[in-house]
């Protein structure tokens, strides 16, 4: 249970809510309506679960748990891409699933996440998501780590935040069994959402690390200006602000911070494939404008969803504004530099 009862309706959450800038969403009134009247409001579905409001709350109300509890078992207002990723997760959760043969007996496991299906269903975004996996494995190789690639089902992040707890439990059960049988003691993932889910929503009992926490030992000499976007799952949910920055600066990169960074970072607008609409697009434009203002030629992020949505905006056919910087994943950026011999 979330501690939503301690809310005293000061409205600080609403004043900081990124969705409030572009719509009538109000975290305060959604607590009020749910708590006092037992109403089901649309605001619980327009929430991005970006985690900005619990940071500012004087009563430390756990708004994210509240949203997750409220959403549970209800029909989402809208899921982006007609819910194709949700359907895929639900389909695979209803199958028995064969525990695949082990791809080695390394103690380190690498989970690539849903990059395959992102490549297949978001083919018009013009982003090579599979490169995140190949780059990560290449960089791990450089560090002398030989992981076994885990061929699990989806981690279930999206379905969990869309209120489909039963689907999540099905996926979790399978994945936990898979991890136990693989015999690993460290799980490495290249996706911020997988990292959050495996650390907080699974009780695995093994070490879970995000790839960005490893790259500071690479020893590359890159002479470039970049800017970094904090994904909500890695930043505010997991409190990991320094590792990706250290990974960049330790390899010789000059980091130019955006106006809002670290705890105050703006959201890309689509956290779990919900709400990709005009309003969240405005948030995306705001973030891209901030990145442009830094003058850096590369925008780095560590979440495949942020990457997809920034690139979608950038490659839009009839775009009002053209952005002339690249948006790349941290691992892909470093692997490309490694390839170039730096």
């Amino acid at each position: 249970m979330s501690n939503v009862q301690s809310c005293y309706q000061c409205g600080k959450c609403t004043s900081i809510c990124p969705m409030r800038r572009v719509s009538k969403t109000s975290p305060r009134s959604s607590i009020y309506n749910a708590n006092i009247y037992g109403f089901e409001t649309q605001d619980i579905w327009t929430c991005l679960t970006c985690g900005l409001c619990p940071q500012e709350c004087p009563q430390q109300v756990d708004f994210l748990s509240f949203i997750r509890e409220e959403r549970q078992g209800k029909q989402p207002l809208a899921i982006a891409h007609l819910g194709v990723f949700t359907e895929l997760a639900e389909l695979s959760s209803r199958l028995n699933g064969n525990i695949a043969e082990k791809s080695g007996d390394s103690k380190i496991g690498f989970f690539p996440g849903c990059v395959d299906s992102l490549d297949l269903f978001l083919h018009d975004v013009k982003t090579n998501f599979g490169e995140i996996t190949t780059s990560s494995v290449r960089l791990l190789d450089k560090l002398g780590m030989k992981p076994q690639v885990l061929n699990m089902k989806c981690c279930g992040h999206d379905v969990l935040w869309q209120g489909k707890k039963d689907v999540f439990n099905g996926l979790k059960e399978y994945n936990k069994k898979y991890i136990q049988e693989s015999g690993i003691d460290t799980l490495v993932t290249s996706c911020a959402e997988c990292y959050r889910t495996f650390s907080k929503d699974y009780d695995l009992g093994i070490k879970v690390i995000h790839t960005s926490q490893l790259w500071d030992k690479l020893g590359l000499k890159i002479n470039q200006d970049v800017t970094y976007h904090d994904p909500c799952r890695l930043g505010r949910h997991m409190g990991e602000y320094d590792a990706p920055r250290k990974a960049l600066t330790a390899n010789g990169v000059t980091l130019k911070e955006m106006e809002h960074s670290k705890e105050k970072a703006l959201c890309c607008g689509v956290s779990n494939f919900m709400n990709c609409n005009e309003q969240t697009k405005a948030l995306r434009i705001a973030r891209m404008n901030e990145a442009e203002a830094t003058g850096a030629k590369t925008l780095i992020t560590t979440c495949s969803k942020c990457l997809a949505h920034f690139n979608c905006l950038k490659n839009e056919k009839d775009a009002v504004k053209k952005y002339d910087f690249d948006v790349v994943d941290l691992s892909v950026f470093l692997a490309r530099q490694l390839e170039a011999g730096k």
């Binding site: 719509s23 009538k24 649309q42 078992g73 209800k74 029909q75 989402p76 207002l77 809208a78 899921i79 891409h81 007609l82 819910g83 194709v84 359907e87 895929l88 639900e90 389909l91 695979s92 209803r94 199958l95 028995n96 699933g97 064969n98 395959d116 299906s117 297949l120 269903f121 083919h123 039963d166 609409n277 005009e278």
Partner: protein
Amino acid sequence: MSTEAAAGTPKSEGWEPNILAFCCNWCSYAGADLAGVSRFQYPPTVKVLRVMCSSRVEPAFILKALKDGADGVLVAGCHIGDCHYIDGNKNAEVRINNTKKALEKLGFDKRLRLEWISASEGLRFSEVIRNFTEEIKKLGQNPVKKPQINADERRLDTSDISVNMRSIANVQGSEVK
């Protein structure tokens, strides 16, 4: 095909496949019509759903059908070059092939088919259905486990359509309130 789908196949006597066919309004649906008018025989395993173009069929529709227990999904459109909307079927081809690749991991790729059937090919329509039914029979029943549906969920299921209408309105930019 992975071992998964084969292993999970329940064996039942007298079982008939349940195939969902998306037929485009301009060619394949007319082809199905012609098959009926000309009395070409084909097994009654198929439920035809008319769409305006084969590219209207989203991957989400196919995944939803398979998730809810359809044994096969057929997407039928005009031949390449004959599309009423110029190149809709080319887009459909890309989409369906991508969906097939995604389904391959789950061992479901043979349960999805894309066929070009023109309005004058009634005979071909009946042949495709016969052929596909045979193949599905070989594959066996869809191995998805049916979740237990309580009254609450059933109520939610019927509201699916209105939800989709809302999301369409959302895309068009009108504010949803």
